[in-house]
């Protein structure tokens, strides 16, 4: 039985096991039908032209977590941003870990999707927001069909949330191969501000396939800063589907730091449904070996006077491959749109590949849209310059690559995250120099 058959066959058993209200039940049923019809995406589809899931899908995944596994905090502390006070919503093999989490209902809700989907007090929010931003594509639909657990965050209006919220998914490799389908819902009401960090981390070499969906709603003048740290081990695959629906004057930014995993696909979608919205999409990708990272972005400008800013940097070594596919749609009504997109890449190996493709669909006539992509090598004259000052080759390379990524890092607002990323980059590049001076 292939994975698709296994999933569709499991659906009924899954639906029986979760108690649910009719709204969610209907949404799930509709979603499984879409997945049945469409199946897993193949390279024949334009959006998946450069990313094949074949090698990932052939594993015999266990599709439901069977039992809970305990992890000692000290063993996984390094995956937390632990030097600042945060709320934590942590899952182990798809199950909530109360032991590692710090949730709250005090003035805001930082809790579990399983509660939100089942308890009456959340019904209104669920009916208003659940699956309202996610697309009807096959992978988000698959996630919707099986959605039962994840982080649920609701920030009521006029609230500046002081503590960042970390959402971490661990997998223990208890099963020979595990498929996880986390589902996050984040609703930020008027004038509120929240910072969120998301990470998926496998703790063994057993294959893990994560098909994650995160829906984020920023209401009027809300501000959301979202950081994705993707530095998983070589047997983990992540398909991240993130949908952000913004209302007027809201500001949302997503920084994606992609340092690894076997295969990572980021589907990042912004929908601007109001005026004077700002959206920022930034990313640093540094990979090697046979790693594959694919950034597929969409910014949909629907209303006038909005801005979007995309800046993705990629450094590709060894046999790694990268994809950047950035789509900007400017609707006819969306006059005075200011959309910027840049994708710069450095190939540090002859065998590394990058496919980069900007896609602009502009139907309004009074807009400012610019895009540019570059692919290059490390600047040899800069290398000689640095080495002639006593900086060894490896360190000089690292410094240049760090400098190359610095535009993206400089807009990270939480210093501890910046430090952590800087450290990961230094490790990744095999140097022991502090970049942040």
């Amino acid at each position: 039985m292939d994975l698709k058959e296994k999933l569709t066959a499991s659906f009924l058993a899954f639906e029986n096991q979760v108690d649910t209200d009719t709204y969610v039940h209907d949404v799930r049923n509709e979603a499984i039908k879409i997945f049945e019809e469409k199946g897993f995406p193949t390279k024949k589809e334009e959006a998946w032209k450069y990313t094949s899931l074949n090698s990932v899908l052939k594993e015999d995944y266990s599709v439901f977590p069977k039992k809970e596994n305990a992890i000692e905090y000290n063993d996984v502390k390094k995956y937390f941003i632990h030097d600042i006070d945060t709320f934590n919503v942590v899952f182990i093999d798809g199950k909530y870990s109360s032991h590692l989490s710090q949730t709250t209902h005090d003035g805001l809700d930082v809790c579990l999707m399983s509660s939100a989907l089942t308890k009456p007090k959340y019904r209104l929010i669920i009916e208003n927001y659940f699956n309202k931003a996610a697309t009807k594509d096959s992978l988000p639909s698959l996630n919707t069909a099986f959605s039962s657990e994840g982080a649920y965050i609701h920030i009521p209006k006029n609230k500046l949330v002081q503590k960042p919220i970390q959402i971490i998914y661990f997998s223990t490799g208890n099963e020979a191969a595990t498929m996880l389908q986390p589902r996050n819902l984040i609703v930020v009401d008027e004038n509120s501000h929240v910072q969120i960090i998301e990470r998926h981390q496998s703790l063994t070499d057993n294959p893990v396939l994560t098909n994650s969906v995160t829906e984020i709603f920023t209401n009027k003048r809300a501000i959301v800063d979202y950081y994705k740290i993707q530095n998983d081990n070589q047997s983990a695959t992540l398909i991240d589907n993130t949908f952000i629906k913004q209302k007027q004057e809201s500001v949302a930014s997503v920084h994606t730091f992609a340092f690894g995993g076997k295969l990572v696909r980021n589907n990042l979608n912004f929908y601007q449904t109001g005026e004077r919205i700002e959206s920022t999409l930034k990313g640093v990708t540094i990979i090697g070996d046979k790693q594959h990272v694919d950034h597929n972005t969409l910014v949909h400008h629907i209303e006038p006077n909005c801005e979007s800013h995309q800046d993705y940097k990629g450094i590709f070594g060894e046999n790694s491959t990268g994809v950047f596919n950035g789509k900007i749609i400017v609707e006819k009504e969306a006059q005075k749109t200011n959309a910027f997109q840049a994708n710069n890449n450095i190939l540090i190996s002859d065998k590394a590949t990058i496919n980069t493709k900007p896609q602009l669909e502009i139907f309004a006539d009074d807009v400012k849209c610019s895009h540019g992509c570059t692919i290059g090598q490390l600047d040899e004259s800069a290398m000689f310059y640095m080495r002639s000052r006593g900086i060894p080759e490896k360190e000089a390379k690292a410094l240049l690559m760090y400098a190359f990524s610095n535009n993206v890092l400089s807009s990270v607002k939480i210093p501890e995250i910046k430090q952590r990323i800087t450290k990961i980059i230094a490790n990744k590049l095999g140097v022991n120099i502090g970049f942040d001076l």
Binding site: E393, A403, F404, S405
Partner: protein
Amino acid sequence: MLKIENLHASVEDKAILRGINLEVKAGEVHAIMGPNGSGKSTLASVIAGKEEYEVTEGDITFNGEDIHELAAEERAHKGVFLSFQYPVEIPGVSVTNFMKTAINETRKAKGLEDMPAKDMLKLIREKSELLEIDRKFLSRSLNEGFSGGEKKRNEIFQMAMLEPKLAILDETDSGLDIDALRIVANGVNKLKSKDNAVIVITHYQRLLDYIVPDFVHVLYNGRIVKSGGKELAHELEEKGYDWIKEEVNA
């Protein structure tokens, strides 16, 4: 200190240096002059260890040690410094960050600990004052958007920070107005001692009024064709290079 014997070097199979002999002792200032394309910058790059240049014949020894197989950074660690004719812009790396890395990597190569942050700041302050460099300038990206004069001043600032044994100044005077030239020359002179040496590569006499050479060499067609004292520079300034070319070609 530096001894170059019968040095031949080429780039992409094109011979540029064709048998250079030069000896520079501690405490000396040598000027290398010559028309465009004579190989002056190549000589500077070969001494500093640029990999594109292949040494096909001859020896370079530095304080008695054969350095021609050493990487650029290893030569730097031994005290060779090249002030670039065209300093490279490195966006995203601040002047301070760059200098800290350079100094600490050099210390690491010598088995020393990183310089304490306090000492580093003090050193930076001291040397930037010497070159009349504004504090704000130090947090800017290295050479990015610097004027020609700022770039050259920054080169000498780096030299002051690294305190090399042998400094090669490759057309440090080009693009400098008279004030910047004075500041740069003043910096170089203050760093001069009986234990270090300077090679000044230039087209013009102008810089040599400030940094007075003990020896002047004329490079033409990849060879040193004439050497003399500082008066040779004046002669070249007056008469140009044609008479030298004629002498060589005769």
